[in-house]
């Protein structure tokens, strides 16, 4: 099952203006795990996700996906295994229609037309968006866009799903539908989020980042209860774990 392994070893990354984004991040995620990456703004979540999805190359250290170490040459291979859902779905939906967007990935993989069509149908069906297949992306609501963005990634049949703030800008019901949908996926899931309640619902494991370093790495239930970890990292307990404002229980 090593082809579903994601491993970071002492990854460091500096931006071109000198900001140190990652200062030695190490962890190991195995097949089927569901991991939340949490931290304050600027802690390095998006940068880390960029490395895991093959959008950034580490300045030092290694990122390994399956048997492949991330290098400039192996970028295409990594991108085939890892599907990244971006924070702003408008960045990810750039084709004239929803079905064209979902088909974009499979077409680039070189699949024949029939297979492309069946993948598009399947992906849109999985996220419940078959009815908007012929609509242009600007006529979708926030939740619909997010679902379609997930479909564009699913159509490439990745083994690992990486998501950057998937529940942001969603109304409560759309958010609930997304959480339920993600719960049905058996892929390895790595989710960067501020939505600690979603992390509690979806992810068994949480990695807390602080200023480019791993501050904590363990079972979600434990970490998100531990204020001695949360507070220095700019976080607080998820709402569902906070005591009731009325009866303080």
């Amino acid at each position: 099952m090593s082809h579903h392994l994601v491993e970071a070893k002492d990854v460091r990354y500096d931006y071109s203006d000198g900001t140190r984004a990652l200062c030695g991040v190490s962890f190991r995620i195995t097949h089927g795990e569901s991991v939340a990456i949490v931290g304050a703004n600027g802690a390095g979540k998006s940068t880390l996700l960029g490395h895991l999805s093959g959008c950034l190359l580490p300045g030092a250290g290694t990122v390994q996906v399956g048997d492949t170490i991330l290098t400039r040459k192996t970028l295409p291979i990594i991108r085939r295994t890892v599907g990244m859902v971006f924070q702003d779905p408008d960045d990810q939906l750039f084709m004239p229609t929803v079905s064209a967007d979902v088909a974009f990935g499979p077409i680039n993989l070189g699949l024949p037309a029939e297979q492309v069509r069946s993948r598009v149908e399947k992906a849109l069906g999985t996220v419940g968006m078959s009815h908007v297949a012929h609509r242009p992306p600007y006529r979708l609501s926030g939740g619909e866009k997010r679902a379609v963005a997930v479909a564009t990634v699913l159509a490439m049949d990745p083994a690992i799903l990486v998501m950057d703030e998937p529940s942001s800008n969603l109304d409560p019901q759309a958010r609930r539908r997304l959480i339920e949908l993600l719960g049905t996926f058996t892929h390895t899931k790595i989710i960067a989020t501020h939505d600690l309640d979603m992390a509690l619902d979806l992810c068994d494991r949480t990695i807390v980042l602080r200023r480019g370093e791993v501050a904590a790495d363990g079972p979600t239930a434990d970490i998100l209860r531990d204020e001695s970890i949360l507070t220095p990292c700019g976080l607080e307990k998820p709402l569902s774990l906070q005591s009731c404002p009325i009866c303080s229980q």
Binding site: P76, R79, D91, Q92, F94, F104, R139
Partner: protein
């Protein structure tokens, strides 16, 4: 601000019109492009004083509008919005060309008025045909048609992307504009410098977005070439549409239907 809002609403409405399913929508976009271009060339090929022969050509936009179920109100409104340029420029014709050309009873009409009327009719014909084309096809399909007619894909992909991100950018621009308007007092803050600063930061956000979109494209295997699996295929109906209209246009151009009918009606044969 209302200006931009109404413009975007117009675009949105045209977009909805062009994604319906009518007999016109089902015709191959290449065919529609070619017949419309042929129509425009025929309309423009008449001399500037030829008024009557232009009128039978109204059949083309009339049929297109009917087949595409395009609301007439929409066409008229658009015509009115775009007409000022033609109306204004054409106005010089009656002013400068005073030689009498036509007499109806005791009324003397100068050549200038005739050519002005010709300009206006050309305007109505060409613009309504263009509108019917777009409302009955949609930008997406027009681009597919263009690409399969040989237009470089760099260009058609560009049009599609531009159209796609238009809505996003206008929203961002409107947001910034509103913020600016809320923070300006009277006319201060609406001037050139504030505008330059606003456009400047909008362009930086645009460049950032371009980078993110590119990253997203690369994550899905983009290599510089945008591919599509859907190819257009001509059916019997499309060929019939094309040959039919080219035939009708050729006949209308060759024979002066208006003259014949008029001669028959007024009994003045030539």
């Amino acid at each position: 601000m209302a200006d931009i809002d109404s413009t975007m609403a117009e675009i949105g409405w045209l977009d909805r019109l062009s994604s319906r399913d009518t007999p016109l929508h089902r015709i191959d976009p290449r065919v529609k492009l070619l017949t419309t271009l042929a129509f425009i060339v025929v309309v423009l090929s008449y001399g500037k004083y030829q008024l009557a022969p232009l009128m039978p050509l109204a059949i083309y936009p009339a049929v297109l509008i009917a087949l595409g179920d395009v609301p007439l109100k929409f066409v008229v409104r658009k015509l009115l919005i775009v007409s000022p340029f033609a109306i204004f420029v054409g106005l010089f014709n009656p002013l400068l060309d005073r030689q009498t050309m036509l007499t109806i009873g005791s009324l003397e009409i100068s050549g200038g008025w005739v050519s002005y009327a010709s300009i206006l009719i050309r305007f109505v014909l060409t613009v309504s045909a263009t509108l019917a084309l777009v409302a009955g096809t949609g930008i997406h399909n027009v681009c597919r048609g263009m690409e399969q007619l040989g237009v470089p894909s760099v260009f058609t992909v560009q049009v599609l992307m531009l159209y796609r991100y238009l809505f996003v950018l206008v929203n961002e621009g409107v947001g910034m504009s509103r913020a600016r308007a809320l923070r300006s007092v009277g006319n201060r803050g609406m001037g050139l410098r504030a505008c330059g600063a606003m456009l400047g930061s909008l362009v930086l956000r645009t460049l950032d977005r371009a980078q993110r979109v590119h990253t997203a494209m690369c994550c899905r295997g983009f290599d510089g070439h945008v591919r599509t699996i859907e190819t257009l295929r001509l059916g019997v109906r499309d060929v019939a549409f094309l040959t039919g209209w080219l035939g009708v246009l050729a006949m209308l151009r060759a024979f002066d239907l208006a003259g014949l009918l008029g001669a028959a009606a007024t009994g003045a044969g030539r």
